[in-house]
């Protein structure tokens, strides 16, 4: 193999994270584990806030006298609709902060901020500010004591910066100083400005992510909506007393998800808040390069094997492959071209290349597009290496980021760990069963919607089910194929499933057919 050391294997933090998430995976059946949908859940909570916000705005009055009273009307008199909408609006926004926080921590622990993925990370950082501004501006609109505290404190924060000569806080020194126009401005920022900026920023954040999962599963949408509704009914949101700038609020039930910076400012100083916010943003933004990592190898196109079919470009989860005009004299229109800056080294392109077939005679075995650190030749060698022991054994394909298959390797299994199971060309499964004579093939990849490279699990499933090109040939006995999707650390369960699979294989009739083809050692040209 050309360099296993170049493959970023999960460290202890990632294994710990996987272990912590395992109970949720058990409860939510893997695919629906909320931890696999944190970005999408954040977007969903924004939708909820958007819809409820539109309802609230219908009744909201953008004036000094009207603001508090209109929110109070919604909360008290219209508790059954407006009150619930208000509570949902607040709780969905809070939920977004929780999922956003977890999203950041999770992507970081999984190392998905490094290498070519730096773009998603860096463009995510301003989103934190946007989300905070959203919340803070929302609290102004109620114009109760909490709004007053937030308004005065945010103005004081702004005044710390050398921007305004006439301090912004002077707008809040007395009730007479506050103008109704302020509410028109804040409502505009909260209802029009920030939503537009947020949509643009999310679009930018996902620019380099192909087929981003922007919706969580239906089950999760429903579950979280019901949960938020229950909370809205059990604990309806209320306002504080109307703002009165001649008084200081003595006790505030603050929303710590959005407003924690203000108490921090009250107990430290404006400068400290800016230091933490500014310093934190810079450190976060620099994380992809701290410490500078080695560049991961990029996929390489081998033109003699590339027919310009475009499957690899279609499947690349990061849009690293373009189809461009042919540069050799073969009679094809297009050829694949890799942008190394976008390639995350997953090898999914090899799995999608119809030329990736171990049946082919040539040595070394080549294909249209492959990873320099795990070539098709490496792939075939890895399968062939245990050919003598193959009869009656199970070939287990694993993924570097999923369960550690080396831990389950018994005498009756031979394991091959790949950068991603999406790298397995369907012909490779066929080959393992027909030409090498394994009695079964197991694929153990990352859990549903949690593929380290985003789409490897989906594509593998679809290729096996013949919903995606290149698809697994019909002749491959599906009863001899096992797919398991689980987290790193779930090796005991994998072991159990493999043992059961072994028993199932032993019970299957017609083992002779497999051994015949193995004995003939036949290899065939697929293309």
């Amino acid at each position: 193999m050309s360099g296993a050391q170049e493959r970023a294997l999960p460290g202890p933090a990632r294994r710990l994270l996987a272990r912590l998430e395992m109970p949720l995976s058990r409860a939510f059946d893997g695919v629906h584990n909320p931890m696999h949908h944190l970005g999408a859940l954040t977007i969903f909570f924004f939708y909820v806030a958007l819809v409820t916000g539109i309802y609230l705005f219908i009744f909201y009055r953008t004036s000094l006298e009207g603001a508090w009273a209109s929110v109070e009307y919604l909360t008290r008199e219209q508790w059954y609709a407006g009150g619930i909408m208000r509570s949902l609006h607040r709780y969905a926004s809070d939920a977004a902060v929780i999922t956003l926080g977890l999203h950041i921590v999770r992507e970081m622990i999984r190392g998905r901020h490094k290498g070519p993925r730096w773009f998603s990370w860096l463009t995510g950082v301003p989103l934190i500010w946007i989300v905070l501004w959203f919340g803070i501006s929302g609290y102004w609109m109620v114009w109760d004591e909490l709004a007053q505290y937030v308004a005065v404190s945010s103005a004081r924060l702004m005044d710390w910066l050398p921007i305004f000569t006439d301090p912004m806080s002077r707008n809040f020194i007395s009730n007479e100083a506050v103008s109704s126009r302020l509410f028109t401005l804040i409502a505009f920022i909260h209802l029009v400005g920030l939503p537009i900026i947020a949509v643009l920023a999310i679009w930018f954040h996902l620019l380099r992510v192909r087929r981003p999962r922007i919706n969580p599963t239906r089950k999760l949408m429903l579950g979280s909506l019901v949960a938020l509704l229950v909370l809205s009914v059990l604990m309806p949101v209320y306002s504080h007393a109307p703002a009165d700038l001649d008084r200081v609020p003595l006790s505030l039930d603050i929303d710590w998800f959005y407003l924690a910076i203000f108490p921090l400012m009250s107990v430290t100083s404006e400068g400290m808040v800016w230091l933490i916010a500014g310093g934190g943003t810079l450190v976060l933004a620099a994380l992809p390069w701290l410490p500078p990592g080695r560049k991961t190898p990029a996929a390489e196109v081998h033109l003699p094997d590339c027919t310009g079919c475009g499957f690899c470009a279609e499947d690349c989860p990061y849009g690293a492959i373009d189809m461009v005009e042919r540069s050799d004299d073969r009679n094809f229109k297009l050829e694949a071209k890799v942008n190394p800056d976008l390639c995350v080294s997953c090898g999914i392109c090899t799995g999608s290349c119809p030329s990736s077939s171990p049946f082919r005679q040539r040595r070394p075995l080549t294909t249209g597009i492959e990873m320099p650190h795990f070539t098709m030749e490496d792939f075939r060698q890895q399968i062939d290496i245990a050919a003598e022991k193959a009869r009656g054994a199970v070939l287990v394909f694993g993924c570097d980021h999923g369960p550690r298959i080396d831990r389950v390797a018994g005498p009756k299994t031979h394991t091959v760990s790949l950068p991603c199971v999406g790298m397995i060309p369907p012909a490779g499964i066929d080959y393992a069963m027909r030409s090498t004579g394994y009695s079964g093939v197991a694929i153990a990849g990352c859990e549903g919607c949690d593929c380290h490279h985003r789409l490897g699990d989906d594509f593998t499933r679809q290729r096996i089910e013949r919903e995606r090109q290149p698809s697994l040939r019909k002749r491959v006995p599906r009863e001899r194929l096992l797919t398991v999707w689980m987290k790193a650390g779930d090796e005991t369960r994998l072991d159990r499933q493999l043992t059961e699979f072994g028993k199932h294989l032993a019970d299957l009739p017609g083992d002779e057919q497999t051994s015949d083809s193995r004995q003939s050692g036949r290899r065939e040209e697929v293309q």
Binding site: P23, L24, R26, A27, F28, D29, P34, R90, Y91, D94, A95, I98, Y149, S153, R156, D159, T165, D166, P167, S169, R170, I173, S174, G223, S224, V226, A227, L228, V230, L231, M235, V237, Y238, D244, L245, D246, R247, V248, P249, L250, S251, L252, D253, I254, D255, W256, F257, P263, S266
Partner: protein
């Protein structure tokens, strides 16, 4: 049985989610000022005297100006920085030389301070120097402040007047 356990797990997860939101969405309560305290806001927007006084134009100087711009006097733009000293019960709590705003330092001098104070009776002595003089003050004021818990009193220093405002007692 397994299904039941899964459903229980999901329920527990959503419950935990709710508990976390409920715990921090409206509390724990926070007090911006210590218990039994109020605050004194000191706000100044004050136009100090010019560094150079305005001077009338001579007839010759006026004649050189375009007919539509024949003003009678010229003024240098710069204004003196305002010295603000505020004593609270004799203790100097503000001692600042505030520059006039603007590139040319020709605007008002702005100052805004928030001073949390325990409720009680205070004596405030304010002294301002806003002319080119080196010694003494141009404006001096004395106020008695009776601060109740939660009061946000405002000492407002304008161009020519200084007022201490307290909330109306309801």
């Amino acid at each position: 049985m397994k299904r039941l356990a899964r459903h229980a797990g999901q329920l527990a997860a959503w419950a935990l989610f709710l508990v976390i939101i409920a715990a921090f969405a409206m509390g724990p309560a926070f007090s911006p000022v210590p218990e039994g305290s109020g605050e004194l806001k000191i706000s100044m927007a004050h136009l100090a005297e010019r560094i150079e006084p305005c001077r009338p134009l001579t007839e010759e100087e006026r004649a050189e100006l375009p007919p539509t711009r024949r003003v009678t006097e010229v003024c240098e733009r710069g204004r003196v920085p305002t010295l603000v000293r505020l004593r609270l019960d004799g203790e100097l709590i503000i001692d600042r030389l505030v520059k006039a705003a603007g590139w040319q330092e020709d605007g008002r001098a702005y100052l805004l301070e928030f001073q949390p104070l325990p409720a009680g009776q205070y004596e405030l002595e304010l002294a301002l120097r806003d002319t080119p003089r080196e010694e003494g003050y141009d404006m001096q004021h004395h106020f008695n402040l009776a601060l109740e818990p939660g009061d946000s009193a405002l000492l407002e220093i304008g161009d020519g007047d200084v007022v201490l405002r307290l909330p109306e007692r309801r």
